[in-house]
């Protein structure tokens, strides 16, 4: 595939759909959580209001260039991640820019936003930001490990790194999904999924009362708006990868919506049940449980 | 408890013993014997715990009363040692080496009563008050109302009622 101008419009459309979907879905998830707790919960459009409110703030500060660029890196990371992965299988419109790279690109581009955000938070000079970054990075190194092994295992399984081809191989029947053809790998990858969704028990990075929400402590106004946008976009983009790799991908937007929601709920469900780990505990957890499953996965493929 | 006081009396100048409750006793001590007494009570008599160290301003007598309240956990006995020091030259002896927690009490006394404890750790640093320049506020010659009125702006129209009269009026309007 080569570049055509219309791709930009297609990409913008994908982005538009996914952002709105993410806004609604994350609000819905919070609402579900509230209902389970016996509360009414936030209005379903609360995310939009918060976004508008943050953009509407009048006074802003900046700590310097990297501080300013941090959220830009962050959102670029989210948008890029979405655009480097085909969203809807079989649709020409929603292949995005997946011809730029394969699975490996997606895997490593995840760090783009993290790095930028960490740098921005660092320049704010706030020790809590640095502590949050230190925790986040330390935890993610261990959490991503099972995913790396899982990705390796399924690339071996399908003998390709091309996401579209991996999705294609899972079509036909629900039992063609990697979830069923290679359950170990899926379990390994889901360790990483749960570990990187910033939900309990792996959310000590944010620790609101201890290190006021960690890295973004100093961010506000439009900076925060960009990060909020990313916060609804990025998990969806990440879920899309998992969906494509392990759950048969999506052939239309309805399937997309259902699958993304279902996968997202995995981390939510675990999050409401388990209390928070300290960083070294979660590192040990991933090394003790995630890593062996991952190793089994690559050995049994 | 009486036994203890009687046992100590020949060797220490103890006065004015008050047997408040079965498990609570107060007794006056002298400054030069305080340390030896505390050590003996801690090491021989099992009063291992310093409950509190506080002061009372006997402004009329020109004295501060330091109360060292110590506790024997096994015997469930509390003993309060009262020590009177001169109010004008208020200075106590630090006992932070006997109970490290005493340092905190002594810091508080230094700040709130202006009682000096030379040698106590960090005793001259600010403790609770920040930027305080007036006289120590727990001294009885410090009038908090007057200070408050002279310092803080009040809202117009604030009324003050005598609680007793007000409640009586509210609950029994007929009288």
């Amino acid at each position: 595939m080569t570049f055509e101008w219309i791709h930009i419009a297609y990409a913008a459309l994908t982005l538009f759909i996914v952002i709105n979907y993410g806004m609604i879905m994350t609000a819905l998830v919070r609402k579900i959580g509230a209902r389970v707790g016996g509360r009414y919960g936030i209005p379903i459009w609360q995310n939009y209001i918060d976004l508008a409110k943050n953009i509407a703030l009048r006074s802003k500060i900046t700590h310097g260039v990297m501080y300013y660029l941090g959220p830009v890196f962050r959102l670029t990371g989210g948008v890029g991640l979405l655009l480097f992965v085909p969203t809807i299988y079989g649709s020409v419109m929603f292949q995005n820019f997946s011809y730029a790279g394969d699975l490996i690109l997606a895997l490593y581009f995840v760090f783009f936003g993290t790095l930028g955000m960490a740098l921005g938070a660092g320049e704010s000079g706030h020790p809590h930001s640095a502590i949050g970054v230190s925790r986040g990075l330390a935890q993610v190194t261990a959490a991503e490990l099972p995913l790396a092994l899982g990705v390796y295992a399924i690339s071996l399984q399908y003998q390709t790194l091309n996401i579209t081809e991996i999705v294609a191989a899972q079509q036909g029947s629900i039992f063609n999904w990697t979830l069923f053809t290679n359950p170990l790998t899926t379990i390994a990858a889901m360790f990483a999924f749960v570990g990187t969704m910033m939900r309990s028990p792996f959310d000590v990075v944010l620790a609101p009362q201890e290190i006021p929400i960690g890295p973004p402590t100093e961010y506000h106004s439009a900076y925060l708006a960009l990060m909020q946008t990313n916060r609804v976009l990025f998990p969806v983009a990440k879920v899309v990868i998992y969906m494509n790799l392990f759950f048969g991908g999506a052939t239309n937007w309805a399937e997309f919506a259902i699958k993304v929601f279902a996968i997202y709920m995995v981390s939510v469900l675990i999050g409401v049940v388990y209390p928070r780990f300290r960083v070294e505990q979660s590192i040990r957890f991933f090394l003790k449980w995630g890593l062996p499953v991952g190793i089994l996965a690559i050995l049994t493929v | 408890m009486r036994d203890l006081i009687e046992k100590l009396t020949p060797r220490y100048t103890l006065g004015n013993a008050t047997y408040q409750r079965a498990d609570l006793t107060f007794v006056d001590v002298t400054r030069d014997e305080l340390r030896a007494l505390l050590l003996e009570l801690r090491d021989k008599e099992g009063f291992t715990h310093l409950v509190l160290l506080t002061a009372v301003d006997w402004i009329e007598e020109g004295k501060f009363q330091l109360t060292y309240m110590i506790n024997n956990r096994e015997a469930d006995q509390t003993l309060g040692l009262r020590l009177y020091i001169d109010r004008n030259d208020a200075e106590g002896d630090t006992i932070h080496d006997i109970w490290p927690t005493a340092a905190t009490y002594q810091r508080e006394l230094r700040e709130m009563f202006g009682i000096a404890f030379p040698g106590s750790p960090r005793v001259d640093e600010e403790f609770i008050l920040e930027g305080w320049t007036d006289m120590p506020p727990y001294r009885r010659d410090f009038d908090t109302l007057a200070y408050s009125q002279q310092t803080y702006v009040e809202r117009e129209g604030r009324e003050t009622h005598d609680p007793r009269a007000t409640m009586k009026h509210k609950m029994y309007p007929e009288g």
Partner: protein
């Protein structure tokens, strides 16, 4: 041609003449002495040249007009002539050196010196064992006399002990001679040779003669008496004692060994090796310079004795090898003793005064290099040939022990040199005596001249005619120039060499040449920063580059090894220049030499003694499945991996890289490490998969690579020192490269190639950046910095680009490496080692973030508020690197496509398809331009959006943070930096316990304690020494005879 008998006659005659002079005619006496010595030297030299060039044939000089065995005969052959020259010249130069002492003691002392020289020459020339005994007695007496020249009061005692022991030896010799005569009927050596004596019967006779002569060589451990002489005697005499006496005695022993027949050679081998290793170990503990030199002398003589033991396999090259080592030793040791006379203190670190004269430092360095057997000195060529001969005859144990001994010797010599260069000068320095300095320089010149001669005589290329080396040596002469001028020359030289040579390179060589030669030139740009003359920087630097340049072009194993040694020496001196570089430079040189010796052994075994051995022949070796092939593989791989600092062999690296100077760190990290990779490329390219005990060795390498990558990264995240962090990161990065290489598939190699380029760029850049920061802040501890981003924006940019590239985050070039990595492992059957690599990737992210955060972000400190950007010349190369990284990120094909094809020619496959700017592999695809485009557009759009919304943001300062409603009051306590990854330490810290360091530490400790234990035998008591000698003789006899029966 003057007959050789006149050497003896002149010595005797002049000594006699001196007796006729009046006591106060000291000047004339000295003149006569010098004239006689000069005459003796000239005659010997004349003969030597004539015999070597073939103008004259060896002659036997008959005395008393009768044929042997009825009369004594002297022989003048090539060996005799050269040795006599050495002895004569040593005597002559020593006379000048000893002038004050000789003038003080008068004509008798001069006569003794003459007799000494004459007798030593006689020892060399004579072919009669009784005559040998006579000369030997003369030497003993003369020695006893000359020892007294010293001012040291211990000298008398030492001389007396020497006489006591010598008489025992004489007695043994005499008895041996009597027995021999009884058994053989002749005292002529040639007659004895004609009727070889077996161990039976007459064996005892020849044993006694041999053991007596070997005792005269002061073998370990029966040598306490000699050490006292070395320590107490006047250095001028100690030089004679070590250089001339040792040489003569050794030749005498050699004559008898030649006569006794090959059955006796193992005795020489065993005793020689014992001496070499034993005195090496003991020397480790010495704190007195002369005693250390004494041990070294004994060790070296032992080494030559061991070579004598190999004369049966050395054939024609025997003289070249043994002579090379012997002469190098004589020159170096004489030079060192003379140097010691210039130094007042006797401690090893007292030699720091030498720094007052760079020429003397150069001399010291040259002498040390000669002793250790480094190029371009004769010892190097000799060792090379010796090892090949040993390998050719399967004497691998001897080979290993000799290399081990050489390594130990390198250990204490280089440690000493490090002291001299880095320790404080303790006392005011009065200046060096000119005449003594001149004498040292004569030895220096002689050493280099011999290096040239041996190189020319070698079957292999003469290193001193190699253009890059000459270019590097030229900088010695150019030292008086200012640094910038030398720098321009150096850069021009590098670029010029590259331009001249590159048309002949294949793509692999091309990549390495670009990195090493052009890359070196770019890094040298940073050196413009240095002011003044920067003495001692350019010669080693250029020597290192010369080694690298030659390494790339090496065709034969000799060229390769010589280049390897040259770059090792150069880089050693470079690393030693660092402020705290002394211990690290020592561990660097020891590991490097250990590695180099492994390579030497590997090549020697591979060639099976046949020279020249082309590197391509390794392939033939592998294809023929020779049993030794896996061992060659192991030896070479270990050698190369010491340079790449793979885990287990890595402990030299962090210190060496971290303590080096600002512009040296990128050289040794970005460039030097690649030499190891180049070697591994050559090795794997030629030998491929090798199996040992059923294990595929490349798989072992994969594991080592993976472990290095993982543990290196893990250790890096716990460093507080920025340069150490980068150094550990190098271990990790080269682990990746090793991993890629050892995967033995096309993409894996391409991955390694990519790492060669990438690691050079970003590591050089980061080292320069951190170096620039160090220049400004004067600290390398990261937690002491912080908030430098606004003050050093350019440096920040280069670190930022560097860490993005290094962590593999798209769109920069590091991602290409990761992409290739996945494609490479997909094509491999190995799975488990990948786990380690997967772990090390994100961990790298940790330490890189720490690097940029704690230095540039966070809180600026009081004392740094007025810092300026790093010096211009440090920033220039960094900006070049930034551009190169960006270019390489967008257009990786420019560098890699050719190499890809070249690697394809080895594997015969084409896994990558390069279409336009996109690359497609069997498994996936990668389009750098598209990636860059998408990211760029999104980034700019989002940024524009943010600017539109937040353009009016108020710029605030560093304490305007929401500090839980408190007010920060101290940048130090507000900067979160120290122990940055504390949770990681809690979870994974057990993995970075210094196991390897402990292991190597235990080895050196045990060597030292052995030395301590052995030292107890050296009581300083004459009787003990005498008894030791007797014990030694009896023990040797029992073992030797027992072994024979």
């Amino acid at each position: 041609m003057v007959s050789a008998i006149f050497i003896i006659a002149a010595g005797l005659g002049a000594a006699f003449l001196l007796g006729l002079l009046k006591e106060d005619q000291k000047a004339s006496a000295f003149a006569i002495t010098v004239a006689a010595l000069g005459f003796m030297s000239w005659v010997a030299y004349d003969w030597a040249v004539a015999l070597t060039t073939g103008r004259a044939a060896p002659v036997d000089i008959l005395t008393a007009g009768a044929e042997p065995p009825f009369a004594i005969n002297l022989r003048m052959g090539v060996a005799e002539a050269w040795l006599a020259t050495v002895i004569g010249v040593t005597g002559l130069v020593s006379a000048f050196y000893l002038r004050p002492a000789l003038m003080r003691l008068g004509r008798r002392a001069m006569a003794v010196l003459l007799v000494m020289t004459m007798a030593l020459t006689g020892l060399v020339l004579t072919r009669d064992i009784f005559n040998l005994f006579v000369f030997f007695e003369l030497v003993v007496i003369a020695t006893g006399g000359l020892v007294l020249l010293s001012d040291d009061e211990r000298a008398v005692a030492a001389g007396f002990k020497y006489l006591v022991v010598s008489q025992i030896i004489s007695l043994l010799l005499l008895i041996g001679i009597i027995f021999t005569y009884h058994a053989n009927g002749s005292l002529n050596i040639d007659d004895i040779a004609a009727t070889p004596m077996m161990f039976t019967g007459a064996g005892l006779a020849i044993f006694l003669v041999l053991i007596a002569l070997m005792l005269e060589l002061k073998p370990f451990p029966a040598n306490g008496w000699a050490l006292d002489i070395y320590e107490a005697a006047h250095p001028g005499f100690a030089a004679i004692f070590s250089a001339a006496s040792g040489t003569a005695a050794l030749y005498a022993a050699d004559k008898i060994f030649a006569a006794a027949g090959p059955d006796w050679l193992p005795l020489a081998t065993v005793l020689g090796l014992l001496s070499f290793l034993g005195s090496g170990v003991l020397a480790l503990k010495q704190t007195n310079d002369r005693r250390l030199l004494g041990y070294s002398s004994i060790g070296q003589i032992g080494f030559v004795l061991a070579v004598v033991g190999q004369r049966d396999i050395l054939g024609e090259s025997y003289l070249y090898i043994a002579g090379g080592i012997l002469i190098t030793h004589a020159v170096a040791k004489a030079g060192l003793y003379w140097l010691s006379g210039l130094v007042k203190g006797r401690g090893l670190d007292d030699w720091a005064v030498l720094r007052a004269n760079p020429l003397l430092v150069f001399a010291f360095a040259s002498f040390v290099a000669m002793l250790v057997g480094l190029p371009p000195f004769p010892g190097f060529y000799a060792k090379w040939d010796l090892m090949h001969a040993l390998a050719g005859s399967d004497r691998l144990v001897v080979l290993g022990l000799i290399l081990l001994g050489a390594l130990i010797e390198a250990g204490y010599m280089f440690r000493w040199f490090g002291y001299a260069l880095k320790r404080e000068v303790r006392e005011a320095f009065p200046g060096f005596a000119t005449d003594k300095t001149a004498v040292v320089l004569v030895a220096l010149a002689a050493g280099w001249a011999l290096g040239f001669v041996w190189g020319a005589a070698s079957a292999n290329p003469n290193l001193l005619t190699a253009l890059p080396i000459l270019f590097a040596l030229a900088f010695l002469v150019l030292e008086p120039l200012p640094a910038w001028a030398k720098n321009i020359l150096a850069i021009a030289g590098l670029v010029g060499w590259f331009v001249w040579r590159y048309p002949g390179y294949d793509p692999l060589q091309m990549i390495f040449a670009v990195v090493m030669i052009l890359g070196g030139a770019v890094i040298l740009l940073a050196s413009f920063y240095e002011k003044g003359r920067r003495i001692g920087f350019y010669p080693p630097t250029m020597l290192m580059y010369a080694g690298l340049a030659l390494l790339i072009e090496a065709q034969t194993s000799f060229e390769f090894f010589a280049a390897w040694e040259v770059l090792t020496i150069g880089s050693y001196f470079l690393i030693l220049r660092g402020r705290m570089g002394e211990p690290h430079a020592l561990s660097y040189i020891l590991f490097s030499l250990g590695g180099a010796f492994a390579i030497l052994a590997g090549f020697a075994v591979a060639s099976m003694g046949v020279q020249p051995f082309a590197l391509d022949n390794l392939k033939a070796l592998a294809e023929a499945a020779v049993p030794s092939a896996p061992w060659v593989f192991v030896l070479l791989a270990v050698g190369f991996m010491t340079k790449t600092a793979s885990i287990g062999l890595h402990i030299w690296l962090p210190g060496a890289h971290a303590e080096a100077e600002t512009d040296v760190s990128p050289m040794v990290s970005g460039i030097l490490l690649k030499a190891g990779l180049f070697g591994l490329f050559i090795l794997l390219m030629n030998m491929g998969h090798q199996h040992l005990w059923g294990v595929d060795l490349t798989e072992v390498l994969v594991w080592i690579g993976a472990l290095s990558a993982f543990l290196g990264a893990l250790m890096a995240i716990f460093q507080e020192d920025a340069k150490r962090l980068l150094a550990y990161s190098s271990i990790s990065q080269l682990g990746y490269a090793l991993f890629g290489l050892a995967l033995m598939n096309h993409v894996g190699w391409l991955l390694a190639m990519m790492f060669v380029i990438n690691h050079y760029i970003y590591k050089s850049m980061l080292f320069l950046a951190v170096g620039g920061v160090y220049k400004r802040t004067h600290t390398k501890l990261m937690y002491k910095m912080g908030g430098l981003i606004t003050l050093m924006p350019f440096t920040f940019v280069s670190v930022l680009v560097g860490i993005i590239a290094m962590s593999g985050v798209p769109p920069l070039s590091g991602f290409g490496g990761r992409w290739l990595f996945y494609n490479a492992i997909m094509a491999s059957d190995l799975r488990l080692p990948m786990v380690l690599i997967f772990m090390s990737g994100p961990i790298a992210f940790l330490y890189l973030f720490r690097l940029i955060h704690t230095i540039f972000l966070g809180q600026l400190k009081d004392e740094h508020r007025r810092l300026k950007e790093a010096p211009f010349w440090l920033v220039v190369p960094q900006m070049i690197f930034v551009l190169a990284l960006l270019a390489f990120a967008v257009l990786p094909g420019m560098a890699l496509q050719k190499v890809d094809g070249y690697i394809g020619s080895f594997f015969g496959d084409e896994p990558l398809i390069w279409s336009g700017r996109a690359i497609t592999s069997t498994f996936g695809h990668w389009n750098p331009v598209a990636i860059m485009g998408v990211i760029g557009v999104v980034f700019v759009t989002v940024l524009a959006l943010l600017l539109w919304m937040n353009h009016n943001a108020q710029k605030v300062k560093q304490f305007n943070i929401v500090f839980s409603a408190e007010r920060p009051f101290k940048p130090q306590t507000t900067h979160f930096a120290w122990n940055f990854f504390a949770p990681y330490r809690k979870a994974m810290g057990f993995l970075v316990m210094p196991l390897v360091t402990t292991f190597w530490g235990a080895i050196t400790d045990s060597l030292h304690s052995t030395a301590d234990f052995t030292r107890r035998f050296y009581t300083g008591n004459g009787q003990t020494y005498a008894v030791q000698v007797l014990f030694f003789v009896v023990a040797t006899y029992l073992i030797a005879m027992g072994g024979a029966s």
